[in-house]
Every structure is written in C-alpha cells, then in structure tokens.
Amino acid sequence: MSALAETAAAVPGTVARRVTLRPGRILAGLFLTAIVVAALVPALLAPQDPLAISTDGAFLHPGAAHLLGTDESGRDTLSRMIYGARPSLIMGLGATAIGVAGGTLLGLIAGLGNRITEGAVMRLIDVVLSVPELLLALVVITLLGTGVSNALFAVGFAAIPAYARIVRAQAHIVRRATYVEAAGTLGIRRVTVIWRHVLPNAVRPVLVLATIGIGGAIGAGASLSFLGLGAKPPAAEWGDMLSIGMQYISNDWLLAAIPGAAVTLTVLSVTVLGRELRRRSEGRTGR
C-alpha cells in the first residue's frame, strides 16, 4: 500500500496534491468491498473447508495447495481468513447498531426530558464513561458469559455512553430550532415532533461517527476473541486466529501476521472511509 502511495506522490504538479490521498481511499474501498463479499459468500471464495483438519499437513508454508499456508491443525489459513470476515463484520455492524440505538434512546431521553431525568441519565452515563470501553465490555462478558453474541452485546453496550452524549447535545440544539418550535405551535403531538423532526436531525451526525465506530468495534471484538472471550474455537475468527498464531510465532510467524494484518487493514479502511464521510458531512453543514 505504501508503495502505491509513493507512486502517486511521484505524479508531478498540482494533480499530485489532490491525488495523494485518493489511492488510500480507493484501496480502502477495494479492501472493504473484498471483505464484504467474503462475508456474504465465503463459500464462493474459500478454496477449502475452514474447519477441515489434516494431522500431517500442519504448519505448511504458503504454496500452490495452500496460498497462505496451514495452521497448527493443518487447516487452510486462506479459507479461515475468508470465513473470518463475516464474524468480524457482524461484530462491527451489530455492536455499533446496539451502541447507536441505545445511545440515541438515552440521549433523547436526556436531551428532551426535564432537568431531573436529564441529570439522572447523564450522571449515570458519566459514571459508565469513566470506565474504559474495553474494560466495560469485559465486565459485561464476566456477567453474561463468553460467546460471540455476548461479546457483540458487550462491545455494543460499552459504546452506548459516547453516542448518548452526542445525541443529547444534538437534541439540545434541535429542540430549540425554529422548525421544532413551529411544529409545536402548530399543535402537532410531541411524540410526532420527536419522531419526525428531532430524531432525524439529532442522529445524522451520530451516523457519520458510527461509521468510524464500526472499525473500533471490529477491533474490540477481535480483542475479546484474542483473549478467548469471544468466538469459540475452532470457528474461523481473526482475533482467535491471532491469539493462537501468537503461541506459534516462533514456528511460523505468518499465523499471527495474517490475521493481525487483516484486523488492522479492516479497521484502517473503515476509519479512512468514515473520516472521509465525516469530512464531507461537516463540509456541507459548515456552508
């Protein structure tokens, strides 16, 4: 990727200035597209069964039969990587959805409620915010037990406070907006006003932020699996593969490097595109 960026930078003149950032975005887009395709139809792309073990084919180096080699149980690493895309994306999207939904609900309650409600909700959120997100997710896992769905809920739950604060702040702005006042004056029911006017306007900036959040959630989900708290072996999951690869790093460093690179590149790609989205949305609202 850096090689491509350098090539782009070598293009002379003002064009280069405008183009320098673009290959990154294009690559991010291409990479994410590949990940999404892998997540949707892994069976089409994967050369082999990701769970098929072979006791005499362990730790094979990359070659024609196994493009990325095999793991400690002789499973095809490329196939496992492809099948690992789905749990990662589900984790990213699912956890973010939980975070946004929960955050929006609490944010609206706080932003539109009376002072006592707002104080109660916001102080609660402050308390929860004081705990780092991953630690909070670990607490949730401790209470609920391990597993993919619990890990997803835990990461989503941990993201709620941050979204709640943003939605509350937006709701504060929107509730004083003239169009909301006008709607009230017209005698439209409060619930309808919130649903039709406050919610869409308060949530829009959150959705942009959430795009970046998806990357964070994928990283957090992989971290939990890395610690053995998420996906259950032998399921193909990047965090879990990284964790196992670590144990054999002296035998075959690729086993750790490949899933590590996949998590990093996915989070990076999502963040690159998310930032671009934010930049554009801010650009529009700024004018």
Partner: protein
C-alpha cells in the same frame, strides 16, 4: 527413540548418573568437566508459567510446587533413582507387620528458616495441618487420607498410625506438596498468611512474593540436610533464585532464548526443537510417573454409560496422529492407563488402535443409524451429542479441535465448551459432562486408585479424581489390595491385572505420556532431575559463564 533412551537413562541408571547429570544440567557431562569446580554466588533467573496465587504447598495442587517444594522445603522421604523411598529428613523407618504403623527416626540438627527446630512434634503438626479442613488441602491432605494420629516417642522418633494399610504412604511423602513447614508458622499464621509466606527448612528462603509478578528466594546459610542421594552436602551455591511468572508461551520461549532467564520450568512443546538446537541451552524432556494425558468418559450417564459407545469413540480417534500434531515430536503416545515410567507399568495392557470401521459398526449396532443435516448420527431423532467442557484459556489446546474433527467422522457431535475456571470446577465435580481431559501426576502406581476407585468418585463433599465415575468392584478389590502390600511380586500382579481390566472397561482414551519440558542455560551447572516429579532441582546448581 531418542526420547525413550533418554528416559531410560534418567530413570533406571544408578546414583552415578544422578551425579553426572548433577554436573551437566541434564546430561552434558563433557561440558561440566570443562566448567571446573562449583562457584558460589550469583542469582538464577527462572521463568515459570502460572502463579498459583498461594505458595503454601499443603494448600495447593499447582505443579509449581514440584519445583518450589525443592527450593524452599525438605521432605521426610526422597525417592532413589529406582523410585524406591530413601532417607531425607527421616533417616530410617519401620513398618509394622499389619502395615498400619510407621515409626520414623528423624534427622537431628535440622532447623526451619525461622529458627524453630525440626523434630517429631513438627512432623505431627504438619500432618495435622494437611488434614485440617481449614487448610482445604487439595492434594497433600488426600494423599495421606488414611492418616489417623501420631505419637511423639521422643524428639527424633515419631510413630504414625494409619486407619488402614496404605503402601504408597512413603512415596507420597516425597512429593513437593508434602514438604515440611515450620510448626510455629502453621500454628500462628492464618491460611492466607501461610499462602503469602510459608516457612520451610529448605536450601532457599522465600524473601519476597508479589502475586502474578515475581518470587524471590535467598540462599539459606547453614543448610546441610539435602537427600543423601544428591551425594552433596552443605548450603546452596546460588545466592538466590528470582522467579517470574511468564504466562504466554511465545514470551516464555523468547525470553529464555534471549538470555533474560537462565532457566524455565515450562518449555512450550512447539519451541522444544528450537531450544534443543540452541547452543546456549540444555533441554530436558522427562517422562513422569502417573496417569497420562487422557480423556475421561463420564460413565455415569448417556451416551458413555454404554461401553460400546465408549469403544466406538475410542476407535474413532487416530491417537498417533493427534500426538504427532500436538506434540511437536516431544510426546510419546500413551499405551495404557499408566505412564511408562511408573512402577509396575504393564506394556501388555495396550489400548486398541484407531479403527473407524469398528466405530461405525458399533454405533450402527447401538441403533445410532440416522444422520442429521450436519452429518452427526441420530437415534430416535436425538443427536449423538458429547458435551466436552474445557477450561477457558486465551488459547485452547488444539487437541480438542482434533478430537472433535476425528470423532465427527464417525458421527459424534463433540461440543467443546470453554468455561471459566470456577464454573469448570463446578461442572467437573457435579459430573455435568460427557468427556473431560487432563493428566494426573503422582509418584506411585496408586494413581489408578486415585483415578478409578469407586471411593474416588467426586461427591459434593469430596473432590475425587474419578472423573470417569467408574465403579467396578473387581477393580476396586485389586486396587485396595495393592494398598495393603509392599511385596513387589504381589504389587506387580495386582497392578498388572488392574491395567488389563481398565483396557476392558474403556473408561477413557490415554493420549500421550505426561512429560515435563524444561531448559537451563549452559552456564548453569549442577542441576539435578527430581526423582518424584522429573523437574529441575537447584539445590546444588551454580553459575559460571
């Protein structure tokens, strides 16, 4: 092959070999000669795997005590190179004809590091502490369960009375978990205090313990009561031993290879070849006495209350392939229910081999003829499910994946469920599983009683180790008779019969013989291999670059 030769050397050669390995840190005799006379001083940095969070040997079952026990404590007995009891703090002993009274003569002039004298009363206090319910002893206490009371004859003579004959008694007294602690500390300190700072009479004194981080041992001046089989006397050469807990396999290997530690008690199997090839390290892979790494069938509930299903599962596993994949050439396939190095191991009691056709036939006969969408066998619409809870760790052993995948070929659905340790303990002692796995290391063939006697079935009140819930009157009789005799010929016969009986009953699948993999830097000399545990002993180790 190399491995078995090595084990043969370690376990059957005489004291001369112990002396040789004492000079070479695992058998490198030539290098030892070049190293010259022992040098005093220096700190040995040792990496261990997991902190048991308590260092009172009577209160824990962690294998850490196999190494720490020899650093900080002394025992009444030490096993000689043939596995027979030999003197340590007990200089001699007599067993009454009925096998229930042991009279120990004790070594004079021994003191604990707090200055308290070691005598008959101290031993009595130690036995009482191991059996005191407040100690919650998981190992030391159960190992001396037949103990009834002691009578102090004089300072140096103790008469121990057992409720029934128990011939493994002297052997278990040699294990690290049964080290002698200061009676003053036992009587004055709470269990929590003993966990943090136990006091022994060994060659090193515990001077600092930071949980999950480090343990510091300092040389005990004036120590002069090592087992006579060490052929050595006086205090330790090392000024101290610094221990760090390094949980990650890869970190433990790399920190050893980089020289940050001069020894590790746990070489990860996957790094053994690299450690062996490293010119700065000497590597040991010592086979152990006891029960091999094996799977237990829960014979108290379906599906494995049916012996044909146990046989079918056993036949579905290609054990040599599993051992080859997970052992990295370091593990020997287990042949039966005792590790090869155990006294009275019977090589003719052999497990049947991998036979998928047999597995399929047995399952068809048992009526598991249907197949569901996933390919698992069914009977009356019920899936052939095998619940296999395992302890939750960051990296689950690949052995579970392999067992799962191979058993699937025959139609078993093995559900591997990683559970947190606390929950795992509940499940294990509540019998809520179909398959469990583990090793059991002790230094006597009585391990068969611990693993398979009806008495050893776990109950809500007792943490028995009969995870298979096996209850066979014939086997019980032989194992109990073996506890009542010290006659080698009778023991050989009884344990031989028991091993054959276990093959017939199929209460589990032995996978590989339990062995310990450890390594020390070539600059460390004089490391002895422990006769009970196969672990390194640093009493007379010394460092010379």
């Amino acid at each position: 092959m190399r491995l078995s030769l090595r084990l043969h050397a370690v376990f059957t050669a005489s004291a001369a070999l112990l002396l040789l390995s004492a000079c070479g840190g695992g058998g490198a005799g030539g290098a030892a000669a070049a190293a010259g006379p022992p040098v005093s001083g220096g700190i040995l940095n040792l990496s261990m795997s997991q902190d048991p969070l308590c260092l009172d040997p009577h209160a824990i079952s962690s294998d850490v005590e196999q190494i720490f026990g020899r650093i900080q404590f002394d025992n009444l007995i030490y096993l000689d190179s043939k596995g027979n009891p030999s003197p340590w703090l007990a200089t001699s002993w007599q067993i009454s004809p009925d096998g229930k009274t042991y009279t120990f003569r004790l070594r004079k002039g021994v003191t604990f590091s707090d200055g308290v004298a070691f005598n008959a009363d101290a031993v009595k206090v130690n036995f009482q502490q191991m059996l005191n319910p407040a100690t919650r002893s998981p190992l030391a206490g159960p190992y001396i369960a037949p103990y009834q009371y002691s009578k102090v004859i004089d300072d140096d003579t103790l008469e121990v009375h057992l409720s029934r004959p128990y011939s493994p008694f002297l052997n278990v007294l040699a294990q690290g978990w049964l080290g002698m602690e200061s009676p003053k500390a036992i009587q004055q300190d709470t269990p929590a205090q003993l966990c943090e700072k136990p006091i022994g009479s060994g060659p090193f004194v515990l001077t600092n313990y930071t949980k999950n981080q480090s343990v510091t041992f300092t040389k005990r001046q004036g120590y002069d009561w090592a087992p006579s089989t060490f052929n050595h006397s006086g205090a330790a050469y090392l000024a101290g031993i610094n221990v760090s807990w390094v949980g990650q396999d890869s970190v433990r290997y790399n920190s050893l290879a980089s020289g940050q530690y001069q020894a590790t008690g746990y070489v990860p199997a996957q790094n053994a070849a690299a450690v062996k090839a490293n010119p700065n390290l000497s590597f040991s892979n010592i086979d152990r006495i006891g029960w091999p790494f094996a799977l237990d069938y829960n014979t108290s509930r379906a599906p494995f209350n049916d012996i044909d299903l146990r046989r079918a599962f056993t036949a579905s596993l290609n054990v040599p392939a599993i051992v080859q994949t997970i052992g990295f050439g370091q593990r020997q396939q287990a042949t039966g229910f005792l590790d090869r190095t155990t006294q009275y191991y019977d090589p003719t009691a052999k497990m049947p081999g991998f036979d998928r056709a047999l597995a399929n036939r047995l399952l068809d006969q048992a009526g598991w003829t249907g197949r569901d969408a996933a390919g698992y066998r069914t009977k009356d619409g019920k899936e052939l499910l095998v619940e296999f809870p395992v302890t939750q760790t960051a990296t689950i052993s690949p052995v579970y994946d392999l067992v799962q995948a191979q058993a699937k070929q025959a139609g078993f659905h093995v559900d591997v469920k990683p559970l947190p340790l606390a929950q795992m303990t509940t499940v294990r002692y509540g019998g809520d599983y179909d398959l469990s796995s583990g090793v059991w290391h002790t230094n006597t063939p009585d391990v068969l009683y611990i693993k398979y006697a009806t008495f050893s079935i776990p109950t809500p009140n007792r943490l028995g180790q009969n995870a298979a819930h096996l209850s066979d009157p014939q086997l019980d009789t032989w194992l109990e008779q073996a506890r009542e005799t010290t006659d080698p010929a009778t023991l050989k016969k009884l344990y031989g019969q028991a091993q054959h009986r276990l093959i017939d009953l199929a209460p589990g699948v032995p996978i590989y013989d339990n062995s310990v993999l450890w390594a020390v830097s070539k600059s460390v000399h004089g490391v002895i291999t422990d006769t009970s545990h196969g672990t390194p002993v640093f009493t007379y180790a010394w460092i010379k670059e």
